[in-house]
Symmetry: C2
Subunit: 301 residues, 2 copies
């Protein structure tokens, strides 16, 4: 760390203390802990509000934390304010909640019609509507861009491998597919093989889509070299970028390799990785390129 | 049959004889036989050119037929002309051919670069490019619209059940998803559940997509009533409508029912059914609506 970085870090730490601890509402997966670590490295305290039924107990208990119920929004906001939190962020997967993990309180019940309507639509709308509810109750909803931007994938090739010109064209085709579907609130990911969109992700998730691509290749419905094609991920156009950004990890690399793809391209600044070093290592080992593309660029580079 | 229908039928039969037999290049599945039967009912002879590795031997042998290889286009066209065929149509599924089922001849080899390029892209482009090759060699490529229009799904509700207003909105959303992806040559089908596009078909086929929807519902990633949502199918905008129109059958109804859907909506005049009576019976029994929508209508009705 240079002197200047170190000074900057102290300034950040001072500012951070003035802002109070960051409340992190934690769903499942490795991202809540990764965000908590990143925020602490910047000198700000965190309090994890772990969603029963979703958050991973083993990693949560390494931080100051409270267990909460998804339906008890009023109680949770009071608790956050008591602890001096003004800023809240939402991290991690929240799928269909089991009823016993919800425990509605009156604040939530007053919002029930909207809550139920959005709850039927799956995880991203559920989270962004709960976030809106927190915003209306006086909390400031923060995105990963604001509190831990180092978890975002940067522009350029991250590992040792590079896409070919043909693969760059495939990346553009995948991006066009995602853009076309965006207005319909579908699709954070697609797979292009042999110049053709062979899979589009809707509600099934990236892992299921990649398993399908592996199966499609095995069955011979798509003919391709042993290592060909690309996974493309990007936020939906117009989505709330504080909530539910697309994510990639070592698992994604393994699944893409199992599907016989040549690489992964994601929107730079709009895709998160809990552990970028491990991600790059996995991509290098698997022989996959790993590329962050600029959101608005007409070409890959 | 009324007197007028009967006269019309005799006129058709006379015209049909003058046109010579229809050559039907047969891929897999039940459609080649259904088309052959429909054409014969109109009084025209057929000769089936059965693709080795794809066509179903048991049904093919009930008609005048020749076994052919996918790669022997020159030989096949000479054979067709010898038999007095000027009109040819392509029916049935052709996926990745095994090399031993191809048997290239010189006509095809002259076309090899284009042939290989399209063969990599999957069944519909493969077939439409082979069709183009036949057209260039003096054959007239016919579509199901011209030779057996009664196999096309008509406008309106076909069975006993009707979509609700909410389901009509879901059909419109599914159609918009297909239209959005059309320019990218993706998607003859999508599934909408709870007002949300939950699955988009690319290379995997409708059966695989419906199996995925069943799985998504089971896993709780999508919350819906036991019987909710719709399968929407339509030709890709701009596709060659003589080749590879989307198809539905009793299997599709069973798969849609297993996925817990409330119904199926397809583009009228642009979707084929080998046995519409069996299809309607299956839909009625399964409690699914079955709707043909007008291609350009802004609403369902």
């Amino acid at each position: 760390m240079s002197v200047r970085d170190s000074e900057q870090s102290r300034v950040n730490a001072k500012q951070a203390t003035a802002m109070g601890p960051l409340a992190i509402v934690c769903g499942g997966g490795a991202f809540p802990a990764a965000v908590a670590d990143a925020v602490r490295r910047r000198g700000r305290e965190v309090i994890l509000f772990a969603l029963r039924g979703f958050a991973d107990a083993a990693s949560i208990q390494q931080y100051p934390h409270q267990w909460i119920y998804l339906g008890a929004v009023g109680r949770v906001i009071r608790l956050m304010k008591q602890k001096g939190c003004r800023d809240v962020m939402f991290v991690g997967a929240v799928y269909r909640p089991r009823l016993r993990d919800i425990r509605l309180d009156w604040t939530t019940i007053r919002w029930m019609p909207a809550y139920i309507r959005v709850a039927r639509h799956g995880d991203d709308q559920l989270l962004s509507n709960i976030a809106m509810l927190f915003g209306n109750m006086g909390m400031r909803v923060r995105g990963i861009q604001e509190v831990a931007p180092e978890l975002l994938i940067p522009v350029g090739a991250l590992g040792r491998h590079r896409p070919s010109a043909a693969e760059e064209a495939e990346i553009m085709l995948g991006r066009r597919a995602l853009q076309a579907l965006g207005p319909l609130d579908v699709g954070q990911a697609a797979v292009v093989v042999g110049g053709r969109v062979v899979a589009v992700e809707a509600a099934e998730g990236t892992a299921a889509m990649l398993a399908r691509v592996a199966e499609i290749k095995r069955s011979g419905r798509v003919i391709a070299a042993a290592r060909a094609g690309v996974l493309v991920k990007a936020p939906k156009p117009g989505q709330d970028r504080r909530i539910d950004l697309p994510a990639i990890g070592v698992d994604t690399v393994k699944q893409a390799a199992a599907a016989g793809l040549a690489g992964i391209a994601v929107e730079a600044g709009g895709t998160i990785a809990a552990d970028a070093n491990a991600l790059v290592r996995a991509a290098d080992e698997a022989g996959l390129f790993l590329l962050g593309f600029e959101p608005d660029a007409e070409t890959i580079r």
